[in-house]
């Protein structure tokens, strides 16, 4: 891979690590807390050696207690620190649900602006790694209903860094979702130094004329692979990487749909009540008469999660081939 001056090639784990490192270096209000983030350096080695450089006061190995990992971080944020709380796997976030939904998201609102909660909650999510019922789930739909939160789910290393910087700088709580299968699989050029990418802006990663595909996370990469295959078959598909789930980029989606007149939403999370439901409703409300085909969603079946056994994981997830099939059907509709 040719590297532009002022950039280097990182995978997603390295992009998270570099961003956290720079945040720790540049602001001593930054505190990292979570399970095994210190001596072990996080189970994916994202914070490896941080504890040696920044000390145990700033890199806190917490007890196994997710509700208070977030709750204590909320208190730190209310009193002037800039905590970055880690939930070791997104599947473990459920005990912290109230602290995120009932507390962090409402701190500014309920105090009418007297108190704020500048907090980042990072967590690895998603499957394709034989993670079974409790190391593979997608959690974004459980939280995207909640005003007061921002939710980010980048797919590319440069977006990981820019959006994580934006989350750390943000004066309000941000749930930062890292797809664990992309951690070492996805590499890309990342600019050096501090930069931000605005939360709430999608990215058109492939332009096309006949169909709009909206996705995020791991599936962005697979959707792009499928769209490129269709390109070879003479079909032109536009691919949008949402990057941010809340707020969501209405303008980019609508502009694309007005152009292509067809919409396919692809996500790894369950179809029922998923992110695609909100996008479908928005497009139906705003652009129904621009559509030449029914909106389609390719998403997980209505079961709790992917099983450990390979066929169960395979059945739950959508493959690039299935994505290509769905795209072909819509283009030909």
């Amino acid at each position: 891979m040719a590297v532009t001056a002022g950039s280097k090639v990182l995978n997603n784990v390295e992009a998270v690590r570099e961003t956290l490192y720079e945040a720790m270096k540049s602001d001593d209000r930054t505190i990292i807390l979570g399970e095994d983030v210190g001596a072990r350096g996080n189970v994916f080695l994202i914070t490896k050696d941080f504890i040696n450089e920044f000390g145990p006061e700033r890199v806190i190995d917490t007890p196994i207690a997710e509700a208070s990992i977030v709750g204590i971080a909320v208190g730190m944020a209310m009193e002037g620190l800039r905590p970055i709380a880690e939930i070791q796997f997104a599947d473990f976030i459920y005990p912290a649900f109230n602290q995120i939904v009932g507390e962090a998201a409402k701190t500014r609102y309920r105090s009418n602006g007297e108190y704020t909660c500048p907090l980042v909650i990072r967590t690895p999510y998603g499957g394709g790694v034989r993670g079974a019922l409790s190391h593979s789930v997608s959690i974004e739909a459980l939280f995207y209903h909640v005003p007061g939160l921002k939710i980010v789910a980048p797919a590319f290393p440069a977006d990981v860094k820019g959006l994580l910087n934006a989350a750390i700088d943000d004066p309000d709580p941000v749930l930062f979702l890292e797809h664990k299968k992309t951690y070492r699989l996805i590499k890309g050029e990342v600019p050096e130094g501090h930069y931000t990418i605005p939360i709430g802006k999608a990215n058109v990663i492939k332009e096309g004329r006949q169909l709009t595909v909206v996705s995020y996370g791991l599936y962005v990469h697979w959707a792009l692979e499928a769209a490129n295959q269709l390109e070879n078959e003479g079909m032109s598909v536009e691919v949008i990487d949402l990057r941010s789930i809340r707020p969501m980029d209405r303008t980019t989606i609508l502009n694309s749909v007005e152009k292509t007149r067809k919409l396919l939403i692809i996500h790894e999370d369950n179809k029922f009540g998923g992110i695609g439901a909100e996008i479908s409703a928005m497009v139906a409300e705003e652009a129904l008469f621009s559509l030449d085909a029914p909106i389609r969603r390719l998403a997980a079946p209505d079961v709790p999660a992917m099983g450990y056994a390979e066929p169960l994981e395979h059945e739950y997830m959508s493959s690039p081939a299935q994505m290509a099939d769905a795209m072909r059907e819509l283009v030909k509709f």
Binding site: G71, G75, E103, E114, K150
Partner: protein, 341 residues
């Protein structure tokens, strides 16, 4: 532990001046008057909800006297009128909250008794029990991390809240990191309708301290001076690097849980009447008069003044307008906000 009356023990003032003793008593009178006012306004149909802390007056007025204004942080729960008053909130601010007026700290968004004042060091909290305790721990962590000796966090809750997982998680973390935190449990024996016996097998909450590796103590929360002495000792320890303390102040909830509760569906008049025999307000009045800190005339004058202040606060707050409908949309995030951009 039997709840004893201060009067019976004579006056050991633990360094409190006459003026401080009078301030404590005035806080207690003000709590009762404001509580009463909230219930009156509810019955008059002027406010939809009120909640009282009768029975907690001595505990809260005594604890608040140990709080260092401008330095310490208070993370209270919703039955802490006396603590809010004792650290500097005014009856007018309390009435703004009861009337849900635009000038309320929360802009009329929260239930009454859900105080918040950054200026006073009073952390915003929700109605979700124990959710505020990790916030207090995080605030104490911030104090310690910044090396701010001489500061501490006073966090309070009722007995029922100690059943929550976050209560345990918070105590555990505070002890591990030797944080400047005082956990004051106001044990009033009731969690709405659920008595202590259904809340825990061992009713001595303070004894859990040993399990966490911190000091613990139970005291008579009907005695404001004993409360002050215990809370001050624990706060001083926290302020000087000695770590957290678990305190359990014994009191009683004389009123129903709130204006929406009927406590006669789960306890008897006789039980409440028996507890009322230890009512801390008349008892402390007797202590102050017997010890010569106040005369009967002083007490009468103070009661009149408290009623006057309550009336003025009520009228002034009632005259303030509600928030506007458009205020529903402010202060969700920094800056203007749309879920779709």
């Amino acid at each position: 532990m039997a709840k004893t009356d201060t009067k019976a023990k004579g006056l050991d003032r633990h360094g409190l001046t006459d003026e401080q003793l009078r301030q404590i008593f005035r806080n207690m009178l003000l709590q009762r008057q404001l509580d009463n006012r909230g219930f009156q306004l509810n019955r008059q149909g002027k406010v939809p909800f009120a909640l009282g802390s009768e029975g907690h007056e001595a505990l809260q007025a005594g604890a608040a006297m140990a709080f260092n204004r401008g330095k310490d942080i208070l993370a209270p729960y919703y039955r802490d009128l006396g603590l809010a008053l004792g650290i500097g909130l005014t009856p007018y601010e309390i009435m703004l909250s009861i009337f849900a007026r635009v000038d309320d700290h929360n802009g009329g968004r929260q239930f009454p008794n859900h105080y918040s004042s950054k200026a006073a060091g009073l952390m915003s909290f929700s109605s979700i029990l124990a959710a505020h305790i990790p916030h207090a721990v995080g605030a104490a962590y911030a104090q310690k991390y910044r090396g701010e000796t001489g500061r501490a966090v006073l966090v309070t809750c009722g007995d029922g809240t100690t059943s929550e997982g976050e209560w345990h998680e918070s105590m555990n973390f505070a002890a591990i990191h030797k944080l400047p935190l005082v956990m004051l449990v106001e044990n009033n024996e009731w969690a709405i309708s659920t008595p202590l016996s259904k809340q825990m097998a061992n009713p001595e909450i303070w004894k859990r301290a040993e399990g966490y590796g911190m000091p613990g103590k139970r005291f008579n929360g009907f005695d404001p001076i004993e409360t002050y002495a215990n809370v001050k000792e624990a706060l001083d320890r926290a302020r000087t690097g000695g770590g957290p303390t678990l305190l359990e102040g014994m009191c009683y909830r004389f009123l129903a849980h709130s204006t929406d509760d009927n406590d006669m569906t789960y306890r008897t008049k006789e039980i409440v009447a028996e507890a009322r025999k230890h009512d801390p307000v008349p008892n402390f009045q007797a202590v102050l008069v017997d010890s010569g800190v106040m005369s009967d005339a002083d007490v009468d004058a103070m009661k009149k003044d408290v009623l006057r202040e309550t009336n003025e606060a009520t009228d002034k707050a009632e005259a303030v307008p509600y928030p506007q409908a458009s205020d529903l949309y402010t202060n969700l995030y920094e800056g203007a906000w749309q879920p779709w951009q």
